[in-house]
């Protein structure tokens, strides 16, 4: 997958399509390696203190983790991080930027925080306030990363241009059923066709919503893609 910007570096999922495996791997070998990975994680947790004190070990261990493909975040939670507490948050900052850039062409730079938490961070027991704290930390970089809420649902915008009120209203409608349409807009906001059409077209042009012309009622639906976190 050819990507631009920071999106080019990404998580190599379990199918690393690009890497061509020279050795003929079959499942026993794979299994053995993954069991070892799990044991390595437990081992790292027990020896956390020792690892933290010797910089040389720490550097080597982290490099081994990234070579094996273990995301350091998954090993250490808040109180057992190798460097010091803030590193844990910097790690989250980097991960958030990475995911936002990866999915920018899909959701136009607006991503739902709940989905980000549930789909990615939850299984590393990283809580919602950790994510929000990391986002606030990104402030000084002036990257145009901003949190906003629609009907108590939190969203993260990673592109500088702001959403207009009309666009926010449409995202509000989308948050109910996942999509919006001209009839829905007339029913809920009693917008005339002209107005909804032009706002919807504007959102499509800036990549905030996707067009679906195969709906059963025959009307064009506009779906909100902000829940899509990982593409592979």
């Amino acid at each position: 997958m050819k990507k631009f910007g920071v999106a080019a570096f990404g998580e190599s999922g379990q199918y690393d399509l690009a890497s061509n495996k020279l050795g003929s791997q079959n499942n026993e070998l794979n299994e053995q390696l993954s069991i070892f990975q799990v044991k390595l994680v437990e081992f790292a947790r027990q020896h956390n203190k020792e690892l933290r004190d010797v910089p040389r070990f720490r550097a080597k261990f982290m490099r081994m983790c990234s070579a094996i493909g273990i995301d350091p975040l998954s090993i250490f939670d808040k109180n057992s991080h190798l460097f010091h507490i803030d590193d844990f948050y910097y790690q989250i900052c980097v991960k958030i930027i990475e995911i936002c850039r990866n999915t920018k062409d899909v959701n136009g730079g607006v991503i739902s925080l709940e989905e980000l938490h549930v789909n990615y961070f939850k299984n590393m027991n990283i809580e919602m306030e950790d994510i929000e704290k990391a986002i606030i930390m990104l402030g000084p970089l002036d990257g145009g990363f901003e949190l906003f809420t629609i009907r108590q649902k939190k969203f993260l915008r990673s592109v500088p241009n702001e959403l207009t009120d009309d666009q926010t209203k449409i995202l509000e409608i989308c948050s109910i059923m996942g999509y919006a349409s001209i009839t829905l807009l007339r029913a809920n906001l009693n917008w005339k066709r002209v107005r909804s059409q032009s706002v919807l077209d504007g959102m499509v042009a800036s990549g905030l919503i996707w067009v679906d012309s195969q709906s059963l009622e025959g009307e064009v639906l506009y779906w909100d893609p902000s829940w899509i976190i990982n593409l592979s």
């Binding site: 631009f4 910007g5 920071v6 080019a8 570096f9 190599s12 690393d16 690009a18 890497s19 495996k21 020279l22 050795g23 003929s24 791997q25 079959n26 070998l29 053995q32 390696l33 044991k39 390595l40 081992f43 020896h47 020792e50 690892l51 910089p55 040389r56 070990f57 550097a59 080597k60 261990f61 982290m62 490099r63 081994m64 990234s66 070579a67 094996i68 493909g69 460097f83 010091h84 803030d86 590193d87 910097y90 790690q91 900052c93 980097v94 930027i97 990475e98 850039r101 920018k104 930390m137 990104l138 000084p140 970089l141 002036d142 990257g143 145009g144 990363f145 990673s158 500088p160 042009a205």
Partner: protein, 510 residues
Amino acid sequence: MSAGFIYWHPVEIAGSGQPILRENERDIYVEQSVGLYHGKTKILNKQKGRLYLTSQRIIYVDELAPKKESVCIENDDIMNVEYSSKFLKRSAKIILFFKELSQNEAPIEEKGKQVHTTQWNCPICGVENRIYSTLDSNGLNMPPCGSCGVEVDRDMVQNSIKTVVEDLEETPKENICPVCTFINHPQIRNCEICGARLKQSRRTSKVKDSRVRILLEEKTPSGEESFAQLSFRKTDGALFYETLVKQLQEISRKESKHLFNQNVLSVNGVPTDPVIDPDLVLSNNDINLIGITALEKNKEQQLLKNNIVMSNALSDLNKLMALAEDIEKMYQGNRKSKSNESILLVDREKYLNKNVFLEEIARELYGFVDSELRGDSGIIVTLVDLFALYNKSVRIGTGLISPEEMREACEKFEKLGLNDLKLIKINGRVLCLAFQDSFDHIRTKVLQLATMRPGVDILQITTELNVYEKNNWSMGVISEVLQYCVAEGNLVMDEQISGTNYYFNSYWKV
């Protein structure tokens, strides 16, 4: 003239543009459109050519001027190899670390003026083998035989072992080829007639080979360079890397059997446990294992070996650390190692006050942006992207830096005299790091594009800027520049449902 240059050697190129291989040199793999770096700087007019990996050398054949610009590096000179995968716009690179000169010379001097050669013939295929040094007396089996690759145990061969001691009275000036006794020029590394390795080759001459032309892009303020980089523009170079690693292992195994680490007790402070023989860990897929011995090494054996390593690794921390590389190799099979060695460990604890630490980070940042992101027309990168990129690729293993520290470090460039890189704010809202004239450069580029191809969109502009010219502009930065041009009135927009097209504003004067 930094010592690093002596590792580049000339190559004879046939009319067809193919390199002329030496006598028993076997070519293994060819890669397209590769560029050469000496240390961190690009080597001028050696940026696009074919790279041949052979059993003895890595040969670079330049596309434009094969005869003049082709060079090669001897495999023996390479100490170890690092792979760094494709990253943003930076193409995949293989970093070759050269052996320091001193290390090369030591073994010869130590042995005084004589050279011992032992010959024995292999009971299986009857070939008469010869090695240039004494046998390790208590070793159980002999080194693998040259033709059938079988490691026979000592007593089977006892009677046919002959050790011949030759002393090197004749002045080192002469360079007699051990195979065909042709007297070569002292500087030559391989005998001109039969291509065999010459003893002299060990003593790499200090002086740079005059026939090689190395012009660096410009002298960056970096010290003695003892590494080179191969940058893969088209493919991701993983296959080339894996074959090269195999090849180097092959060489090191042949050598290490006799010269280094003989019955030594501990390696850099960690006791080598007799149970774990480094060979054990290597996966069995050596391409150039010759002869029948390759037959026995199969999956079961590999599984057995891994088990031994794994159980040992987790016994205590020291063991784990000692086996870190081996464990990485175990995974080498199915996953490229993404981390690249950061040469200088800027570790937070090392610095007493924050200021010094930040200055060090600023230098490291400058080096990173200069070597990895700078394209032909400079670079502008948003601070947010740079934060993720820098932490992910350079800071791995040495502790990340905070967004706060990143910004403070960037504000220190001025003070450190690195003032061709500075913070700028585009459209008053997005903070970026940019080289001196990059912003005007890209602005004029974008305006030119809009005049040449009216109705151009951001996708076309990014491809034009990044693909046809070697740059790394991110889509985010380009869209900011476009908004700037629209705000200042040079560009006008044609908004379509498929996105925005841009035209040069030739009608309405501003």
